[in-house]
């Protein structure tokens, strides 16, 4: 692993013998990323998806929950470009609104994952000793928990508990949760399980970084722990954390879809791709188009994020590239 690329800006010698303007690590990464066609496909796809999700009310031809018993399970037509489902709801509109669910899960859940995982990993590695030991025992035990089972158990609890939660804070969370069709529960369940990986990654990085001479130097001149962590260690863990987050997004999206597929995710009529796939599976013999639309869109989205993650990893850490 080469950290030197992350620490210093690169300067290249131009043919004329003059030093080129130094570029930052992020600029370098962006230049390399732009050359990667698969990663750019991923990038463009994700940007389009974000635009679609943000402007869903404008773009969707119908409301996502508009039931039309005069037009159930229709194949694609001019009125309904991707057909209708078993309640006569427009599949395209539901997919467009479903993008909101998937993307909000990826943003919020991933953010919570980082907010838990990064500080825990950093504190564990930086302070070491018994703090590290305590934290690592907890992480080890949670790691031994089969993650899918843990998510299902936590999700079942949150789904039922958040519906009836009382009190000033819990009541507010409960209101938001019910208004969003159970999204808060999904965020929490995913975050409570997936922070482990991030914390391990950060711990490993920090263990390596804290032995560096510049940290020793900072400590010698009396810089406080807080400042060392925030100014010297945190920025140097950013690249691997960004890469891990990019790879984490497809796994939270597919886990949300999986939970909704099993009926444990968001509540109907809120459209989730996973739920639409599960409805498609039930009507697979008679109306395969229901499954194909949602299944292909979910797969393409995951593919796009994985391409982007691969590209980012190669771009930010060229030494790691094989």
């Amino acid at each position: 692993m080469s950290s030197s690329t992350r620490e210093s800006a690169t300067t290249e010698l131009r043919p004329g013998g003059r030093l080129a303007k130094p570029t930052s690590m992020w600029q370098d990464a962006w230049t390399r990323l732009r050359r990667n066609r698969a990663a750019m496909f991923g990038f463009v796809f994700v940007v389009v998806l974000i635009v679609v999700a943000v402007f869903a009310p404008v773009l969707a031809p119908y409301p996502y929950d508009k039931v039309d018993f005069g037009a159930i399970t229709q194949t694609p037509s001019r009125e309904h470009l991707l057909g209708t489902d078993s309640l006569g709801r427009d599949v395209l509109s539901r997919l467009i609104y479903g993008a909101r669910v998937s993307l909000s899960v990826s943003v919020v859940a991933e953010l919570v994952i980082l907010l838990i995982g990064v500080p825990v990993g950093m504190i564990s590695a930086y302070y070491g000793g018994w703090i590290d030991m305590m934290i690592q025992r907890v992480v080890d035990v949670l790691y031994a928990f089969p993650s899918l089972l843990l998510i299902i158990v936590i999700m079942t609890y949150l789904k039922a508990a958040l519906k009836v939660a009382q009190g000033p804070i819990a009541g507010m969370v409960s209101t938001i949760n019910n208004a969003t069709g159970g999204l808060v529960g999904v965020f929490l369940a995913l975050a409570l399980v997936f922070w482990l990986t991030v914390s391990r990654l950060v711990r490993g990085e920090v263990l390596a970084i804290k032995e560096r001479q510049y940290i020793e130097a900072a400590r010698c001149i009396g810089v406080s722990n807080r400042r060392i962590i925030l100014r010297h260690i945190l920025p140097n863990t950013l690249a691997p954390v960004v890469i891990a987050a990019t790879f984490g997004i497809p796994s939270v999206i597919s886990m949300e879809a999986g939970l909704s597929f099993l009926g444990l995710g968001v509540e109907p009529p809120m459209p989730s791709w996973g739920m639409m796939i599960s409805e498609g599976v039930q009507n697979i013999r008679s109306h395969p188009h229901l499954l194909i639309a949602s299944g292909v869109l979910l797969s393409l989205t995951l593919l796009a994020f994985n391409f982007l993650g691969d590209g980012l990893r190669d771009a930010m850490d060229p030494w790691m590239k094989n």
Binding site: A144, P146, L148, F261, L264, V281, G295, S299, L302, N306
Partner: protein, 309 residues
């Protein structure tokens, strides 16, 4: 090594206890008990009788200890709530072997295909073969298994009629093809990606250059030096993946109607069938932990430089 092994085995006990405790209290804290019915609720007297019969009227800590004592002393998880007259043990014996067999077949497929693809793309680095297998690698990681399974059902079962749409007949029947392939895709892709980077890494080592310099045919350089050493990190990945494959069959089982424990677990969670939930969770936690332990132990034999003390 002996002391390390003993310490690791002893650590299994508190870990299992924590898993047990978390699951127990989380499940019992979840609103809606095992007798909650949608539509017409059960009469109050019936619920009270049921609670008394299964000991659910006792204080929570008493339920916790008596349940724990039952498991530790007699290996007894008690009766299932939702299947009258069936013990958790019977249910696990009925459903778990199916998941285990399906997972094992999927894992064999994943190992054979994943390792070959990975080695192939490392050896043919930056050729079209490399690009194709790495594209397969990324697709395999991206497409969810239940989507693959359903698409395969549409194509091979409904349209072509080559295989039945679902069900279970043991590992030697055609019914296993769709669930096994769908389940193997993700681990296959992961293994292919890891194998590729591991082989590429080894190919740059000095001993490979030496082997080539002394005139060893490329085939033997690969077989004797490169691939063997590249397999060491793969063992870790493969071990952990196996645990994931056996536990990860929930989705595939429900699409292909395989009567495995995954499908049963999901329904027992929504039915709040506490004993079944506890039994399944502990079983899976044990598998994951033992698998991790085996991986760490095997590592010592694969890589003589690794020493535990």
């Amino acid at each position: 090594m002996g002391r390390y092994l003993i310490r690791r085995l002893l650590l299994l006990v508190p870990s299992m206890l924590v898993v047990f405790t978390i699951t127990f209290f989380l499940m019992h804290a979840t609103p809606g008990g095992p007798w909650a019915r949608t539509g017409r609720p059960l009469p109050k007297a019936v619920i009270e009788n049921l609670n008394a019969r299964y000991g659910l009227d006792k204080p929570l800590w008493e339920q916790y200890t008596s349940f724990l004592v039952g498991i530790v002393t007699r290996g007894d998880f008690g009766p299932s709530y939702s299947r009258y007259g069936r013990d958790v043990k019977d249910i696990l014996v009925d459903f778990f072997p199916v998941s285990l067999k399906l997972g094992a077949v999927a894992m064999v497929l994943a190992l054979v295909l994943g390792l070959s693809l990975g080695v192939l793309s490392a050896v043919k680095h930056n050729t079209w073969m490399d690009y194709v297998s790495m594209f397969l690698g990324i697709v395999g990681v991206s497409v969810p298994s239940y989507v693959v399974a359903t698409i395969m059902i549409i194509v091979f079962a409904i349209t072509m009629r080559w295989v039945p749409t679902g069900g279970w007949d043991g590992i030697l029947s055609r019914r296993i093809l769709i669930p096994a392939i769908a389940l193997s895709l993700r681990p296959m892709a992961l293994l292919a990606r890891y194998t590729r980077s591991s082989v590429l890494d080894v190919l740059r080592r000095d001993y490979v250059r030496t082997a080539r310099a002394k005139g060893l045919p490329e085939r033997l350089v690969l077989a004797r030096h490169a691939v063997r050493n590249a397999m060491i990190p793969i063992a870790t990945v493969a071990g952990i993946t196996f645990a994931n494959v056996v536990t990860g069959s929930f989705f595939v089982e429900s699409v292909t109607k395989v009567p495995g424990i995954g499908r049963y677990f999901v329904s027992s969670v929504s039915a709040r069938d506490y004993p079944v939930i506890m039994g399944t969770t502990l079983l899976y936690a044990a598998i994951v932990m033992v698998m991790n332990l085996i991986v760490d132990v095997v590592y010592v034999f694969l890589d003589p430089r690794v020493r535990y003390n």
